[in-house]
């Protein structure tokens, strides 16, 4: 953190903000402010340079063509990769998650290079599109309660040896490989297929990012009443539909 304010970067709202994932930025900002932090939120459009001095970078889901354009522009800009190598925290969803990997299949059906910040490779699933509520257990190393979210993707993501699965699904598809894994993470880079948005249903993930940014083990408590009520309802719903 620089000069006592948390720099929160929301990447490419013009391309990757189609599925409500800007809610993640809203939740992180809200929970940071509730803990007395000053937050500087930077929305960076795809014709602007990515600042390298951010603390937390969030990337959302988008449609197939915007995903291709976003990957091209992020690679050309280079700022996000520099920020990651400086130890910044990156949290990505769906199309954004695929972009952080080595490669994915774009809207023209061809393999496209990603940023290679996560050791994953995404392909296009042959099965039906994965749509619906998901319930999963997050990697015990991260010490977080169960993950609830809504998935809506055709892509399938394979993990390489350096990436750890972010969660193991109880209900739903996740990465879609068939091994039950959902998302990926390594060091301070995270990827997930979960919308909802994921932070609204799992505020503890927002808190994890804040703890990593502040380099602390605990945060003052926040009022979790409505988040908890929503979590219980969605966990029950995922269990019922399965």
């Amino acid at each position: 953190m620089s000069d006592n304010s948390l720099r929160l970067v929301w990447i490419y709202p013009d391309l990757l903000s189609t599925y409500g994932d800007q809610g993640n930025a809203l939740v992180v900002e809200r929970r940071a402010r509730q803990r007395g932090l000053d937050v500087q939120r930077l929305d960076v459009r795809s014709d602007q340079p990515i600042p390298t001095s951010g603390d937390i970078y969030l990337i959302g889901g988008g449609e197939d063509r915007p995903q291709r354009l976003a990957a091209e522009r992020l690679l050309r800009d280079g700022g996000l990769s520099r920020a990651a190598s400086n130890g910044a925290i990156l949290f990505s969803v769906c199309a954004g998650y695929q972009i952080l990997g080595h490669e994915f299949i774009n809207d023209q059906g061809t393999q496209q290079q990603g940023l290679g910040l996560l050791d994953v490779v995404s392909t296009r699933g042959e099965a039906e599109r994965c749509v619906g509520d998901v319930l999963a257990d997050i990697d015990p190393q991260l010490n977080l309660p169960p993950l609830t979210g809504f998935e809506n993707h055709q892509g399938v993501t394979h993990l390489g040896p350096t990436a750890r699965p972010f969660a193991k699904v109880r209900f739903g598809n996740g990465n879609g490989v068939g091994d039950g894994f959902e998302g990926a993470w390594q060091d301070t880079v995270f990827g997930t297929y979960m919308h909802g948005p994921v932070m609204a249903r799992n505020p503890h993930i927002a808190d994890l990012l804040l703890k990593l940014a502040l380099d602390v083990n605990a945060l003052p408590p926040a009022d979790d009443r409505w988040y908890e009520a929503l979590r219980q309802e969605r966990i029950a719903a995922a269990t019922e539909t399965a």
């Binding site: 795809s46 449609e63 919308h195 909802g196």
Partner: protein, 412 residues
Amino acid sequence: MAGNTDPLSPRAKLAVTAGRAAAAVSRAAGRGSGSVIGGRVALKLDPDLLARLARHLDVVLVSATNGKTTTTRLIAEALRAGGPVVSNALGANMPAGITSALAGGSDAKFGVIEVDEKYLAGVARDVTPKAIALLNLSRDQLDRAAETRMLAEHWREGLSGSKALIIANADDPLIVWAASSSANVVWVAAGQEWKDDAWSCPSCGGVMQRPDDNWFCGECGFRRPTPSWALSGDYVLDPHGSAWPIKLQLPGRANKANATTSAAVAAAFGVPPQVALERMYSVQAVAGRYDVVSFMERELRLLLAKNPAGWLETFSLIDPPPTPVIMSVNARGADGTDTSWLWDVDYTRLAGHPLFVLGDRKLDLAVRLEVAGLDFEVCDSLDQAVQMAPPGRIEVIANYTAFQDLRRRVGN
């Protein structure tokens, strides 16, 4: 063309009759108006029925993400100045519902037909319309609908060979992309508050520049066409430069935009703007939307908002604080089962209003409002929310099935 001079074939007649019988059974069973089931039965017996029913009509199709039911109604009212109209006024906007509506209007001269976005190209092929009105495109039901730009592309391909006059919103880049492959386009500056689905150029993918009300792509030169009709404040400006006042009973900027487009459509059918607009003033509510009802000795105004663009337009028409606002959100099949879109709506616009939340997905909305820093009450029912609301007329905003639930509860 007037009336139904060329009689239907025996097969088509049978199909219409069978459809009516199925609709009657459906109504008797309490399953709604029966128009969709009736149309489905009829189409199965005669797949070309839609084309045959439309042959005798001067047809205008209306499609959009938001405002298509209301605009269909406004156009229907306007065209009645020129002769009888048949229309799917209740919003059954897929081929079965359209077939059923047309089957009920054998004496009509005009067909005013709302079409679901996905079916527009197909219906336009079947019914060879005289005109097609395109209002706006934005994100909606993303768990099951086509991607928004793909939809614009689909329209563009489907309409490129059409002989219809396209009457299209010059202020929505996706609509302009969809319409500009057509030979005959009338551009209407109808405005659009929601801009977040058209920041990237539909043609080349470049970043769109949007100074004031203008827009253009800095990379390929795709730009806003010069409109011949425009909404300007409370006036419709026609191509001759005359300004006609809009005095609708329906509230809000979006409905003035719908009236402007409707006036342009009416002109294409020979109804002058003044006549068209005056006929539109009689519309008070459309399928329950905008209706003011009394319930538990209070006045409630019922507003439908199905997606982020719709909520944005709705926020701009509600009465100012401290008017209480009740919001109800469901996520059943017809709503889209993902509620993430709530986070693309700027609820901070409701600051100062006492807020009451209900519906199947009230907890999603509760978290959304909590994060927006707003005070709100979560309620179990409309009755409870109305009881808790401070005095004054109450604005009630709901998405699709939540709106239907509310209408049932208030007996509307």
